[in-house]
């Protein structure tokens, strides 16, 4: 690496440089300016505690939520809504969560090359009340496991229906369902 008047040279993959040069040209910026801006944002991303690959996945999720009509709701309110509606309209509540899952699933299926793997990122990025999310394939079986220390029994039940709806959109059938307070283990096969 050569050093010159407060500037440094850095090696970059040649193909990527060409693509980025094209992007900077389209935006009417020099590649040097574009590169320095990108470095500044890489520092901001690191300050958010994630690496660039994770950031790219999170951004895809946020983008998907905007497209799908995502909205924020206070977690306490969501817990309240779940408890009340679970008590009074359990069947209808289960249906709306399943339908919402189907809706999300259709979008993920169109958008991602491997929608099943995208589910893990999707849940991790949008459901931060979950402390652990794992989507794994074992031969023909795909297992989805979610763990949370704050999820109530009712919230676990409706979230499992949401995941079922998503997997249903991907063409999977539920084989095993083990849901309890703060723990969801679902197994699917094609």
């Amino acid at each position: 690496m050569t050093q010159r008047k407060g500037k440094k040279l850095v090696y970059v993959n040649s193909n990527l440089v060409d693509s980025v040069a094209k992007a900077s040209h389209e935006r009417g910026e020099t590649i040097s300016k574009f590169f320095e801006d990108a470095l500044t944002h890489a520092i901001k991303v690191a300050s958010m505690g994630c690496d660039l690959k994770e950031f790219g996945q999170f951004f895809e999720v946020l983008y998907a939520q905007r497209i799908l009509g995502g909205a924020f709701v206070p977690l306490d309110v969501l817990n309240f809504l779940t408890t009340v509606t679970f008590k009074h309209s359990r069947g209808a509540l289960s249906d709306v969560w399943f339908d919402s899952g189907v809706w999300h699933g259709k979008y993920l299926k169109e958008r991602f090359v491997d929608p099943v793997l995208s589910l893990e990122v999707f849940l991790t990025a949008s459901r931060w009340d979950l402390s652990e999310v794992e989507v794994k394939r074992f031969g023909d079986v795909t297992r989805v496991r979610c763990v949370s220390t704050v999820l109530s029994e009712e919230a676990s039940q409706v979230l499992s229906r949401f995941v079922e709806g998503i997997m249903h959109s991907f063409g999977y059938k539920l084989q095993k369902n083990d849901v309890m307070k703060g723990m969801i283990i679902l197994e699917f096969s094609v």
């Binding site: 970059v12 991303v45 958010m48 999170f58 995502g70 909205a71 809504l81 009074h88």
Partner: protein, 195 residues
């Protein structure tokens, strides 16, 4: 021994302080500067394909971080409305209290005696209500007028969100003068208690 495939490389120039910082980040993340800069370029290309610039995506993703620390969860708007409607129908007063309490909790996170906190509260609330095309706070002396309009809000959601706002405003010392709530429309007039 198998010879490692060589990646064609080019050199780019950038500010030394930025590269030094990024180099430290690469070290922390257990990768080389070359790998990290390549990841960065891949991200730039990904954003570009989606019609965004990196600056915008970083700001957007900060929203997720902010929501996480503020106790908000992201989901499908339609699903929230369905649940809100069901809960409101099942137990109206408990629903209103739940949203009011949530507003109190949200506002209490800020240093309410500090005048700059209210600006921060407003700014963050705007972020979390990206589903409302109109969300305006207007100050007139000690009076504060809040206008929220969204054609997508259901009647129940309008009443409950108004309850959330009143809870938050009361925590900041604003006393409710009057409010008008219709499906998709909230108008709140409150006055600041001056001690």
């Amino acid at each position: 021994m198998k010879k490692a495939a060589t990646v064609p490389r080019k050199t780019l120039v950038a500010r030394e302080d930025l590269l030094n910082k990024v180099s430290e980040i690469a070290k922390d993340q257990g990768c080389s500067l070359f790998e990290l800069v390549n990841d960065l370029f891949q991200l730039v290309i990904q954003c570009n394909k989606m019609g965004f610039v990196l600056r915008q995506t970083v700001e957007d993703c900060r929203v997720l971080e902010l929501a996480k620390s503020s106790g908000f969860i992201l989901g499908l708007e339609r699903l929230w409305y369905d649940m809100v409607d069901m809960a409101y129908m099942a137990d109206k007063s408990a629903s209103l209290k739940s949203w009011f309490d949530s507003g109190v909790w949200f506002a209490a996170r800020y240093d309410i005696v500090n005048s700059e906190s209210f600006a921060k509260f407003k700014e963050e609330l705007y972020v979390f209500t990206w589903n409302a095309p109109e969300f305006v706070f207007e100050h007139e002396g000690n009076n504060l007028f809040v206008r929220v309009t969204s054609p997508r809000f259901t009647e129940a959601y309008s009443f409950l969100f108004a309850s959330f706002l009143v809870g938050a405003l009361e925590t900041f010392g604003y006393e409710l003068v009057n409010k008008e709530v219709l499906r998709g429309m909230i108008r709140i007039n409150s006055v600041r208690n001056v001690v």
